[in-house]
Amino acid sequence: MPGIGRRFFLKVVSATGVAAACSPSHAPEKLIPLLNPPENLVPGKPLFYRTVCRGCGAGCGVTARSREGRVVKLEGNPDDPISAGALCARGQAELQGLYAPDRLRGPLARQGDELKPLPWAAALAQLGGLLGKLRGSDGRIAGLRLLSRCEPGSAGAVQRSFASALGAAKNARVVFEPRDLASLRAANMKLFGRAELPVLALSRARSVVSFGADFLETWLSPVEQARGLMAGRGEPDRTRLTWISPRLSMSGANADTWLCTAPGEELQVALELLRWLLDPVNQVAALPPEAAAIRAALPPPRPLRGVSPEQVAHLGRELSLRRPSALLGPPASASGAEGRALAAAVQLCNLVLGNFGKSMQLGLGSELDAPSPEEDLYALLEEARRGEVTVLLLHRADPLGKLPASARVEEALRKVPLIVSLGERLDATARLAHFVLPDHHALESFGDLEPRKGMLALQQPVLSPLWDTRASSQVLLDLAAALKLPGIADKDFRELSKARWQAGAKALGAKLDTPQAQRDVQAQGVVVGHVEALQPALKLDGLAPLLFTKPSPAEGLHLVAFATALANADPEAPGWLREVPDVLTGVSWSSWAELSQATAQRLGVKTGDLLALSTDQGKAELAALISPALHDDAVAVPQDAPELRALGTPGRAVRLERTGKTFPLALTGRASQEGRDLARVIAEGGAPKREQGHEQGRTLVAPHEHPQHRWAMSIDLDKCTGCQACVVACYAENNLPVVGPQAAREGRLMAWLRIQRSVEKGASLEASRVALLPSLCQHCDAAPCEPVCPVYATYHTPEGLNAQVYNRCIGTRYCANNCPYDARVFNWEDPVFVEPLQMQLNPDVSVRSKGVMEKCTFCVQRIRFAEGTARDEGRPVRDGEVTPACVQTCPAQALVFGDAKDPKSRVALAQAESRGYRLLEEVNTLPAIAYQARRGGKG
């Protein structure tokens, strides 16, 4: 055909069809070039900044990925010894904190009974004036108090000098950490004279015992501890975990043994264990010299209700043989003398077993800016109530929102004539403030902190401030300058912080002579020196009163608070942490109260009934949820639940009444495998049974060729903790929308990766096990979803990915029906990203619209990025260079990703493991994901 080719002809034929199909053309689009190009920013290319996560006290180093000046993803800092490149769910969600729609966008000042916007200059001038008036003859303000969260760095230093320069009282500055492990701190002080928290090296421990300490969720340094514990998992002789608590929480789900105590009985168990270890008849080797003295100080034994002496003896024997071990506890919720006693007992066990200096390290915890003892805080409130506090500065402290109602915080605050809140959002306390001077988000500010001794973490802004905010420390410096406070010379906080960290870094032996060297350190994000853990000397005096024991708790229901890796129950938490279902209960978007099956039956309560809980402190209404793994005397409530404030500190007796109303809990997933054995458990050293009678790998059509790579994943169920950091990372990386409670109730969560749970009931309550199974698209070689799509929207790529082309999908949902793993997710509505949350969207991934099917892509954009870099550098892709978001962030390193075609790759080796099996082998889909069965388990 001269002049006109086939393709051309086809085009001609279809031209009209195309014209009909295409969207109406919009008004001409404008291109707006920059006036001046920003240096080292290339549009379309990511920039990486190192900084510190301030989500909790652990102080993990993070790497922030920024695109066109917006930070789009947080990942662990591989050079940081704490996070080692991983990040927990809450850390991932810091991003949504940064882009939170309810963040304060400028300073506010009280006019009459409401807070009105005010420019900074005016606000500071007014505040300075007021403070000036209040100053006494000595230039100080007697009634000035500063309440701050723990700031182990320059910020803390500035606050201290400000408080001491302007305030008169000796405890003018009070450090307030609602989640601080105060009991443990106090116990360490009493026992070893060190008011610090230990640093755990669980990788060295062969046995770990936790007295209800959620060390894989929020306790101390979860990321580091998960890595430590799981380093010893997988191999036949693996790290054992014993869980001692009335409730089997996420950390407990990873345990081999569960001692289900009655609520509040952990202390008794700890004491009995200590008694057993010290009893000469048991001939525990290598007891310390103080053994006898400790034994003498032990209170007389009391009968145990929940746990039998045999179980204690069994545990004691295990610990005496498997050394070093680590005993952890108590949880943050344990308070008062009892909490201290439990902490002391636990630490003494560690001492007796010689764990100090090995798995349990003292002398490393930072002593900078340790949270004040509770007494100081309550003293402050009391003074306020007496009207002695004239000025109250609050830095990221929300006593009204966090302390129990019994603390009568509001009454105290109302008595204070001048409250200044330096925070991020309008929390309960800030609502009562006279000045609200919004602070930068941690990701917008400079700073430095000492997460632990011999370590310096550098904080730097990863994007320019979104709103009209100012670093609180800078505000204090400005005020100091305005008031001409003595002893505060610095004008600029950034300079101050820089000088400070550089001094610190030099002390740790870092070379900082050239500006380049300084930049390198900043770019590294962390300076690590070497500090030896010390062998603590036990102070025997006052041991007996410390280890007091009270009669074991009476029968009847008691309140138990538990921590969760996510924050479904916390109304202030970002969407990701509220929507991703709690791994053990499947609840999202609300708080709940757990009852054991027996108790629920006794009271005639069903899941979803609205219960009225009442303690001697107050009342609260919570939705009931029947838990398969809870002591009959316990009523368990997540510690993030606001209702807890009314009920008071856990441990106290609680009454339940049915209100007759029900609450529509958003519950996801059924906690049962119906005996299908998807998440497998094998005896230690055993190999999993294979399906019989299926010819593996035989397919009608020849399996796919993979010329270059065959991307594959391996998931070690013996290591997966169920923390769901991977799930949240997936939300962040792949622009998954948060759909809200209603859609969650309708079973329309958009998660590509989910942790499936199933509870296998044992003979006894304690024998019941929770099996967790991370489930995502298996990228099958013979994928059932591919042949059924009428338009080729899904197909198998040459690299072994099961691709989904959103813009080709017409939404028949046939693929989802035909996927045996239910890995595919349909867009039931158009996604909504509330301003400014849309700034977090990853520009490398399409935002899907309604009516389109979507699913895990193995983070193809990250694969392409790595391949691109490799090609630019003219080399093949290295093993471990490509990591999907989930693999990258896994604290336990349970996920391995790589090229299965390369026999030496980590994933290929992992897949060859004897515990290895594929999901639903009988369907013969030839998945790219291999699971390794969990070891031990039933025992």
Partner: protein
């Protein structure tokens, strides 16, 4: 057959041009400043990447920051009204705007970097810009156009190469 082709070609082009997602062809009045690629790239032989400086190492080619324009126009042809406007706007700290001529839909992840690295010339997609006093879209930049070229050059036709 040839006559048929000749007959249908204009119809096709207009139809195709008509269905660019949101791209109305640039016209004389839609441009704030009468910028001419002919003058710059043609007569004065200025290389493309002088102004579109990211093209070689980023998916985005980038557009010359006004400061770059000023770099030359501090000295060159200050008498021209367009240049005077440019200088005035720059002094006032206001960016110039240009009507967009070439565009691919959001679900297409096109990378200038990759294409240049493979030796694809700017001409191939943007036409002989150096000869254009006023920019025009020469190729529809629809999927068919990409596919033709990818097939010719035995480049990947994997959907995930462009759609993610």
């Amino acid at each position: 057959m040839t006559r048929l082709g000749a007959l249908l070609a204009p119809a096709l082009l207009s139809a195709a041009a008509g269905c660019q997602a949101g791209a109305a062809p640039a016209t004389a009045d839609s441009q704030e400043v009468a910028f001419s690629h002919k003058t710059h790239a043609g007569d004065n032989q200025i290389g493309c990447t002088v102004c579109h400086s990211y093209a070689r190492h980023s998916p985005n080619a980038g557009l010359a920051p006004t400061s770059v324009c000023i770099g030359c126009h501090k000295f060159v042809s200050k008498d021209k009204p367009g240049v005077q406007k440019l200088t005035a706007e720059f002094a006032a700290g206001r960016p110039l705007t240009f009507a967009r001529v070439h565009r691919v839909p959001d679900h297409v992840f096109f990378s200038h970097e990759r294409h240049l690295a493979q030796g694809v010339t700017c001409k191939a997609c943007h036409g002989d810009v150096a000869a254009m006093a006023r920019d025009e879209k020469v190729h529809d930049l629809q999927m068919g156009f990409c596919m033709d070229c990818h097939r010719q050059k035995q480049a990947t036709v994997d959907c995930l190469a462009c759609h993610k």
